[in-house]
């Protein structure tokens, strides 16, 4: 039986740049949410986000590629993967977020078309300008660059399942290794939705929190009001266990289980009783050959919206029953913001870091339990604990559900 193990990771988010800074701040319960710096927010309806402020990355379209390169370098460095030239036994799976829209450029194009009844001409010119823009994001170019750097000569996959994308990229990578389609898979996700149009689109969905940055995102708290958009990236070097052992690589964790499902309930709202989420969790447990009671920690999707947190709590109760009130749960989104396509990949890194350093990350701003979310929420500060097996959830728009199970390389 082939197994997928993690031999290298890279991470960047509002919590920090790189594993060391991220782990240290996560243990302290650092709040990465602050005033937006990437564009002027005076009078703008959305003013806070989980921005990366510890390093300088380009703004606009090149940002996502820069974040991806940053985390890939860290992951490759940790894995000490030998340099290769288009190795056929290496594959790539990456999730790339929806690219930002250059409103200033489009505004100039639209303003250049005058007269009455010009909407069709404006749309045609705007479309032409968008397509031909030098800086237009081209995800395939991003993938090619990552593949070249990592010596990938096998298949390259790009996937997108909204907020579940990161988990799905990792799940797909796991299957590729287990089937023997590759010995090494570079997997990850990148997203930065801190641009004016994306933030307004989330605002229009009534999904965002508006309190001051200190307490804006309050997952599972009774007075939660929404999420805060974040940005970041995560990369993993996944290897077949025997391949890693043969070259003397030290596994950080095993990617032991993965499950995916659809809510089939609505485009905007998740199933209120967590039907699809519970199914994905059950599938991941089955894939890992584990019972719910063997999970030591759950890194929840925990966005901080009223309905999502309630549905996730219901899903956990469906799977764990009364024991759902005992298994430690936290949402790290209160520290990082919601990284959308990169959320679950970054949270998988955070989960492995928590495992490696033996603590359960805190859920910031959790003070008033919600009777509809009666879980063992680890609040305030990190809790020392050995984590043998952890679960990390990612649920997305359109009813996409995904769940990962990570097993500590050091054993139980």
């Amino acid at each position: 039986m082939r197994r997928a193990v993690i031999t290298g990771m890279g991470v960047v988010s509002a919590l920090g740049v790189g594993q060391r800074q991220t782990a240290e701040r996560m243990r302290r319960g650092h709040n990465g949410i602050g005033a937006i710096r990437q564009f002027p927010v005076d009078g703008f309806p959305v003013r806070i986000a989980g921005e990366i402020t510890d390093a300088v990355f380009p703004s606009g379209n090149p940002r996502m590629a820069a974040l991806a390169r940053q985390v890939l370098e860290e992951a490759l460095s940790e894995a000490q993967l030998p340099a290769a030239d288009a190795a056929q036994d290496r594959a790539l799976v990456w999730a790339v977020g929806k690219p930002p829209t250059d409103l200033q450029m489009l505004g100039r194009v639209v303003a250049g078309v005058r007269g009455t009844d010009v909407i069709e001409e404006q749309m045609a010119r705007a479309q032409e300008a968008y397509v031909n823009a030098e800086e237009r994001p081209r995800p395939q170019q991003l993938l090619s660059g990552l593949a070249q750097r990592a010596g990938v000569g096998g298949a390259r996959y790009s996937c997108y399942t909204a907020c579940a994308s990161g988990n799905d990229a990792l799940g797909m990578a796991k299957r590729i290794i287990e089937r023997g389609q590759a010995e090494v898979v570079i997997a990850g996700a990148t997203d930065s939705q801190i641009d004016p149009l994306s933030l307004l689109e989330f605002e229009l969905l009534s999904a965002l929190a508006h309190e001051g940055p200190e307490r804006a995102c309050r997952p599972f708290d009774r007075h939660r009001t929404g999420f805060v958009v974040g940005e970041g990236a995560a990369a993993f070097v996944l290897e077949e266990a025997g391949h890693a052992e043969a070259r003397g690589a030290r596994p950080l964790a095993q990617l032991a289980g993965y499950g995916s499902s659809l809510d089939c309930f609505g485009l905007t709202k998740c199933h209120p009783q967590g039907r699809g989420a519970a199914q994905a969790i059950g599938a991941a447990l089955h894939d890992a050959g584990l019972r719910p009671g063997e999970i030591d920690y759950i890194n929840a999707h925990g966005t901080g919206t009223v309905l999502n947190d309630q549905a996730e709590a219901a899903a956990l109760r469906r799977v764990w029953g009364d024991a759902a009130a005992r298994v430690p749960v936290s949402s790290t989104k209160a520290m990082t913001g919601h990284l959308i396509a990169a959320a679950s990949a970054v949270e998988a890194v955070l989960t492995v870091l928590a495992m490696r350093e033996s603590f359960i990350p805190p859920t910031l701003n959790y003070s008033t339990p919600d009777p509809d979310c009666l879980l063992n929420v680890v609040a305030g500060e990190a809790r020392a604990a050995h984590i043998g097996v952890a679960m990390s959830n990612g649920f997305g728009f359109g009813g996409q559900n995904s769940s990962l199970i990570l097993r500590n390389a050091a054993g139980r």
Binding site: S158, Y160, L204
Partner: protein
Amino acid sequence: MEGEASIVAITGVGVLTPAGVGPAALRNWLRDPGEVGRPVPDFDAAAYIHNPKVLRSMQRLFQLASAAAVLAMRQAGMGSTAELTSHADVTRAGTALATTDISPITADLVQTLEEAGGGELQLSRFGEVALHKLHPFRRLTLLANMAAAHVSLLFGLQGPSFTMTSGVEAAQQAVAESYWTIVEGRADLMVCEAGDSPAYGVETETSREAAGALVLERWSSAKARGAAVVGLLRATAASGGVVAARIDEEPLRRCPASGGLLSMIEAVDRLSGADPQRSEGVAAGAGLQILPASYAEVAAR
């Protein structure tokens, strides 16, 4: 993995091209694609998607992909949730979508830019106007995975789901992942769909409009319910056999999302009269081979 367990049945195909609906129109279109930019003629999305509110929230390429899925599911005898439920466990029925980047240029965005001052754009003013002018669900209409959500809702699919965005290889990867999802026992049925439309893609000057879908089923399940199998999928290490319509050739290479699916549908159609004793199958990309429907019975003897 050997024998029946490694074979997946294709029980439905759906295809829409500028030459019309169905495999025969696909054949004609591949022979004579005509001008770039030709739309699917007389496409009435309401004939496939009956909820007007849902229909309004769908980009044309998602409407096309969903329509192809409806055609494929109808051929498979599961054109409604009730029919699907009578034949399959919905929690073990999933969907896989192949899609491309979706252009953010919409009428409501252009109107918002105009009203907010166009060339002298102040973000505060843009924000103020946008909250009144932009469609509240704008975000959802532009997400790449939304066609998968629509197909899920059309039929009641609750199983595994993924959306591939890997350029011209996306459709073949979506079908391959669906194949493995069934063979490895995580689903009994997968609906694979993709659609292209120049009006909403990002390669507007070169894209063609088309959509395709396949219904894949566990061979034993299809056989047990007496489904009409139109083709078979099998994993293969060999790249030999007749080559499927190549996705790097016109007009398929100008269908960045659906080209791979259309090439598979063309192969299924081409093999429908093939001699299973002699057929070597058709290399379908992503490590898969398409075989005639009768191959499994011949192999089992």
